[in-house]
């Protein structure tokens, strides 16, 4: 490194003060001249045929500008299909903006009303005459596959979207020779992201220039630039997507939604700005849901408790249509590939069935697949420990891949460069005071107080290359780009393709760039989220901001550093190699003595380039793109522990404490890394105890409001203590891996193990999330 003055230090999130001061600028805040507001008429039924759709009264209603139906809107948009080639054989129905003939879930948009205010648009929605002939909805994934069950939609010939099997040759033998086999079936409740700012879009097409500008609360502006260009037949340089402040996204805001597409289409048709901001009710029936899985799994051990193999069958329920462009199969695919990943386990079979039903589509949400794989694996490890009478720490010590045994390939084929499971386990044991907690647990049980301790090891997939989507034909960028420039006054500006949704990307990019140029982070202004002013890149998905974005910024910074030193060398008549950047100046590398300020370099290169020697390049702008090479992913690892108290009379669980030991490689900003982990843990504990999209047998979501869908609140969350191991990846100069999903990956698994540990004296067990009082009381036989 040139300098590590700022990399590795805690810096407050650059935008925190601005947001606190009420100076945030979200799409929701945007008001453009002549802007109209969109509201959607949605199907009240989970499945049916549209027999009548009469919008004439709505079109006449006060304030209404236009009403669109599938007939009048869909033709200007090419349909899209959420399949990828590397998921061989997967299928899904093509989609378009408004329902054509058939409605496929309760909430499916049928008509779009544009009015001078959202209130007037909603008034007009009530005047639309929509007659739907009810059809039998398919609401259960297992039932969907039974002969004679109706098809979820007319666009498919089977309710099975995708099926695959991964199997090592030794699987059957491993089970045949096992000394012990444990097994269980798990049900994971469907849940959703519930971002603070809902989905929001303002599309503004200017017919006089052919320019489409879309202000879009998304995490992947370049992807949407490409989607809008392709689906609407526009050149991509005439499509500008601007993602300003975004109030959380968590993967939910990178999918193509009917409403956003319809808003763009309407702006193209009307030649004026069109705004749509989802309200909470429609968020629940149109944002993607996630993690609706039923898993049966068994694990084989030898007599010493060495894990020999796992055999897993996952049924994923994805709703009516696979999402575009990343599909609804990616989640299940990761579930079956992440099983057993921390362990030496040599053999494995994972079966995956991805099934349609008439519900909101599911897709990628923070920690895609990880929480399911981790919960199943770790629950079976704990059951094995119980059967073998081993302490949960001891069985993990016996099975975690040794820290000096890398590179390692998992039974499912994942390649690990270097992980630190044992170091993490040792540190966890120390920071949580494991032995004392066990002693306290035993003591309290005598008083009728039932506390539980749960542990979960995990790996996390970060820094993905093109192996995720690109190889399957998706136009999803796996590289990023940055433009770094020195201003005429010697300050620094960086425009980069990774984006900011509140996680602090801009802050860490400033730190990385600052260290390459010998300035402080507050001298580096970072611009993100605008396809016209930043280079194209993957932006925010999976875990890539620090690892890939940081490396991009580092390399761009170094390129600019070389340009600055070349100019300085010319001015000072010194060899550039004898110079360096520090403290906002060019210094003599050997002595550290100041030679010329950056401000002076900026001045000369900008205003007096005539004074530079002939042939000296005066460029103070550097451009760099970076695509990960080496390992297809940089895996991280860690371990979490949860301490709970279950009130065995009421079924209510109190979360006492949570610990995380995490290894995300080089830590750029410890404060923000810990923020990511804490937020992630809460998003893992939410669905473990509270969050669930509940449906009745007609396919109606019955708790689709924040009064009934319970998000985790501060009062219920435990203190979260965090420690780190640092194993940088050698694939990059920076050495950073991702951290955004680590907390979510294993929090629920640790919590489920903790609840079961608490329930153990009663002989009760729970293997369904969320672990509600009803389910716990049922497990205890009180209901």
């Amino acid at each position: 490194m040139t300098s590590t003055d700022h990399i590795g230090q805690s810096h407050r999130r650059e935008n925190a003060l601005r947001h606190l001061a009420g100076r945030g600028r979200f799409v929701t805040d945007l008001a453009l001249p002549r802007m109209v507001h969109a509201a959607f008429v949605r199907s009240p039924m989970a499945k049916g045929k549209i027999v009548e759709l009469d919008v004439s009264a709505a079109a006449e209603a006060p304030g209404v500008v236009r009403v669109f139906t599938a007939e009048t809107l869909n033709p200007i948009c090419a349909p899209w299909t959420g399949t990828l080639d590397h998921f061989a054989g997967m299928k899904s129905a093509p989609q378009n903006m408004l329902a054509e003939g058939q409605v496929l879930w309760a909430g499916h948009p049928v008509a779009m009303i544009l009015a001078h205010s959202r209130a007037e648009a909603e008034d007009a929605c009530e005047l639309v005459l929509l007659d739907i002939e009810d059809e039998e909805a398919v609401v259960d994934g297992d039932a969907a596959l039974v002969e004679g069950t109706p098809l979820v939609s007319e666009g498919i010939d089977s309710n099975l979207c995708f099926r695959t099997v991964l199997e090592t040759p030794g699987l059957d033998e491993a089970f045949a020779n096992a000394a012990h086999v444990v097994e269980d079936s798990f049900t994971f409740g469907r849940h959703t992201a519930v971002t603070l700012e809902p989905r929001a879009v303002v599309a503004d097409f200017d017919p006089s220039t052919g320019q489409l500008t879309v202000h879009h609360g998304t995490q992947t502006p370049y992807q949407f630039q490409d989607v809008y260009a392709h689906q609407f037949g526009l050149p991509d340089n005439k499509v500008r997507v601007i993602a300003p402040d975004v109030g959380g996204s968590f993967g939910m805001k990178l999918h193509v939604y009917n409403e956003e597409m319809a808003v763009v289409a309407a702006s193209l048709k009307l030649g004026r700005p069109v705004r749509f901001v989802a309200d909470r009710l429609e968020s629940f029936v149109s944002d993607v849901h996630a993690r609706d899985h039923r898993v049966s799994a068994r694990m084989a051990m030898d007599a010493q408790g060495t894990i020999l193999a796992m055999d897993v069958d996952d049924m994923t329920q994805i709703g009516a249509i696979s999402t575009y462009p990343r599909t609804s199969v990616a989640e299940g695919n990761q579930v079956i590939r992440l099983m057993g990943a921390p362990y030496t386990m040599p053999d494995y079979r994972g079966r995956l069935s991805v099934v349609f039903q008439n519900k909101v589509q599911t897709s990628q949400y923070r920690a895609v697949g990880h929480p399911i794989a981790c919960a199943v694996t770790e629950a079976l490890v704990d059951r094995a420990a119980e059967q073998l009478d081993l302490d949960p720490i001891e069985i993990r010590q016996r099975n975690l891949v040794a820290d000096d045994a890398y590179p390692h390939v998992s039974a499912t084929g994942y390649q690990f460069e270097k992980l630190s499971h044992h170091a993490a386990l040792a540190k966890l044991r120390e920071i949580m005071g494991y032995d004392a907690l066990r002693a306290e647990q035993a003591e309290l049980r005598k008083q009728g107080i039932y506390r539980g301790i749960g542990i979960a090891s995990f790996v996390e997939i970060t820094n993905p290359g093109a192996a995720f989507y690109g190889v399957g034909g998706a136009r999803v960028s796996a590289q990023d780009g940055a433009i770094v420039r020195l201003t005429p006054s010697g300050e620094v500006h960086c425009a980069i393709s990774v984006t900011e949704q509140g996680q602090g990307t801009e802050t860490i990019i400033a730190q990385v760039v600052a260290d390459q140029l010998g300035v402080t982070p507050d001298q580096v202004k970072v611009t993100t989220g605008d396809t016209d002013t930043t280079p194209s890149g993957g932006a925010t998905w999976a875990c890539r901001g620090a690892g890939i974005g940081g490396e991009t910024a580092l390399r761009a910074g170094r390129r600019l550093q070389a340009q600055i030193l070349a100019i300085a060398g010319a001015v000072l008549q010194a060899e550039p190699a004898t110079l360096a950047l520090a403290g906002g100046t060019v210094v003599d590398k050997a002595t550290g003595k100041e030679r010329i300020t950056l401000a002076e370099i900026g001045r000369i290169a900008t205003y007096r380039p005539d004074t530079l020697p002939e042939g000296c390049d005066n460029s103070l702008t550097a451009v760099q793109h970076f695509a990960p090479t080496g390992y297809p992913f940089d895996f991280t690892n860690g371990i979490q522990a949860s301490h709970v108290e279950v009130d065995i009379e009421t079924g209510v669980t109190r979360l006492l404490k949570h610990w995380v030991v995490e290894d995300c490689g080089r830590i750029i900003n410890p404060l923000l890394v810990d923020e990511q982990i804490r937020g992630g843990v809460v998003q893992g504990l939410g669905p473990a105890f509270f969050e669930e999209c509940m449906y009745d047998d007609m396919g109606q979501m019955t708790n689709a409001s924040l009064a009934d869908y319970l998000v985790p609140m501060a009062g219920e969350m435990p203190d979260i203590e965090i420690a780190h191991i640092e194993t940088p990846t050698l694939d990059t100069i920076l050495g950073a891996k991702g951290v955004g999903e680590a907390g979510t990956a294993a929090a629920g698994a640790a919590a489920m193990n903790a609840v079961n540990d608490a329930l153990r004296p009663m002989g009760a067990r729970i293997s369904q999330t969320p672990m509600t009082p009803l389910r716990i009381l049922t497990a205890l036989g009180h209901v």
């Binding site: 205010s117 959202r118 209130a119 909603e122 008034d123 009530e126 309200d279 909470r280 009710l281 009379e649 009421t650 209510v652 509270f690 509940m694 409001s705 009064a707 319970l710 985790p712 609140m713 009062g715 219920e716 509600t772 009082p773 009803l774 009381l777 009180h782 209901v783």
Partner: protein, 286 residues
Amino acid sequence: MKSPAFEYVRAESVADAMSAYAEADGDAVYLSGGHSVVPSLALRLQAPALLIDLSNIAALSGISLHDGWLRIGAMTRHVQALKDPLIAAHAPLFTAAAPFVAHPAIRNRGTLGGSLAHADPASEFPAAAVAMRAELEIASSQGIRRVPADDFFVDIYETAIEPGEVLQAIHVPSPVAGQVIGFDEIARRRGDYAMVGAAVQAVSRGSGLEDVSIALFSVGNHPVRARKAQAALTGRMIDADAIADAQAALEDDLDPPDDPQFPASMRLHLARVLLGRVLANLEAVA
């Protein structure tokens, strides 16, 4: 989630409010703290032509003692139930219940009158009113009447307030020597409506409990007085046997609704557990 258009008027007196209601032919809704009314408008669960704001009416505010009764104006905010010393001394179950009602922002606006008039079966204050044997002062065009809390709560979201009538105040009899109270609930998250809740009041004499008053909530369509449990405790000292008898009596007192997400058997079980805990932790207030 935008409400349909409506007219708004701020009434200066109860008479004003009632005549505005009459003029609107009943297509009107009274507005106090608005924390139940406004969401219901936004959700388009109702679309009245007129909102009549009660917050400026002097007769609906104020907390004062008269002849052994505390008069609490209907516009008294939840936060005052939490902090007002007169309420703490003379209507202590309201003070005990207040921390369980929603969150500070809602308690700053929500009113006691609004909570009682709204009569959500999972609400805390209605049960506290029943347990304290409060009386509700209702104004109508015929005059003013006082209705005992036991007769006030009629059904889910339904009270003795007839259309157009205004709840003016809540009257609570002051505690007597030996009075004990207990309040608790089981909720999914802090501040949520209760899964099951209990408000208990009694007078503890040397010989045992007298005047036992138990109101359970979130176990039926309105706060339920647990008469059999009251009888099981009357004249007895609080001990494990008395508590067990009261718990057992709930089987007859309650007929909870049944729902796959919340079976009747679970409500009954939780009500028993909770009643046991509240009885074991009664606190002296006078």
